[in-house]
Symmetry: C2
Subunit: 150 residues, 2 copies
């Protein structure tokens, strides 16, 4: 039986079946959940992503951060500015290549990262709460093949 006669029931518009539309809606919900969670630590999604990448890649240039995360160099500048201002990363001129900055995580950054990683993971669990672990893995696998750079 149709339980939703009274409530417009989301007409099955052709739009709603398009991957591009669904991706946009799902991404919006994911961003909302994660952003709200990270806000508890005064962090934003991009800041958390960059901080995490810095932690993994050790001393790394801003250009490489942009490349590995697919973020515009211009935006990297602003993000690293913020992270540095909060003492979460250090920005040192690279003596080997004076064009580059060597970005490194600080101990305060590591502490902050531990908390934001937890918050981010929890938000992602909420995002995929309706999925079984297997389905979650499947979604990740499919998205990885679609989210190709370029």
């Amino acid at each position: 039986m149709s339980d939703d006669h009274d409530h417009h029931a989301y007409a099955p518009s052709r739009i709603r079946a398009l991957p591009s539309w669904l991706l946009g809606r799902a991404a919006a919900r994911g961003h909302r959940l994660v952003a709200d969670a990270l806000a508890a630590e005064g962090m934003r999604m991009m800041h958390h992503a960059v901080l995490s990448a810095v932690a993994e890649l050790g001393p790394v240039s801003q250009a490489e951060l942009g490349r590995t995360l697919g973020i515009d160099p211009k935006d990297i500048v602003a993000i690293v500015n913020d992270l540095q201002k909060d003492g979460l990363v250090t920005r040192t001129p690279d003596p080997k290549d004076r064009r580059k900055n060597a970005i490194e995580i600080s101990s305060a950054g590591e502490h902050r990262l531990r908390r934001t990683e937890k918050l981010g993971d929890e938000a992602n669990e909420r995002l995929t709460a309706d999925l079984t672990p297997a389905e979650r893995e499947q979604l990740i696998a499919l998205l990885t093949r679609i989210a190709l750079p370029r």
Copy 2:
């Protein structure tokens, strides 16, 4: 020197495995593909979506359009303005409820919609080109369960 050149082997950042991150990247690519395709007809994604919804829902109020598509009423106003200016939809005061506008598609709108639907579908095929039809259906099913409103 040889290691440094290695084409950004996409470090396995923890970030990159998060659904929320993958969704953002995949959505960005989808939007890029669709937007570029629709630009050939001078349309944008939201305009196409609204036009499609209007075609399906017959005479419909702006509030309901916003509800079924999950778009803010404020944005609906701007979009309907554009569509009306281009003669793709008509906006008539609803005699039954003078608060509402009855939005209806015009013949020019139907013609435009036929072309943009084709372009949008093609862009979505390009987006999911690396997936088998079965995988594509699976992705749509999974996304539908994740993209829940609110």
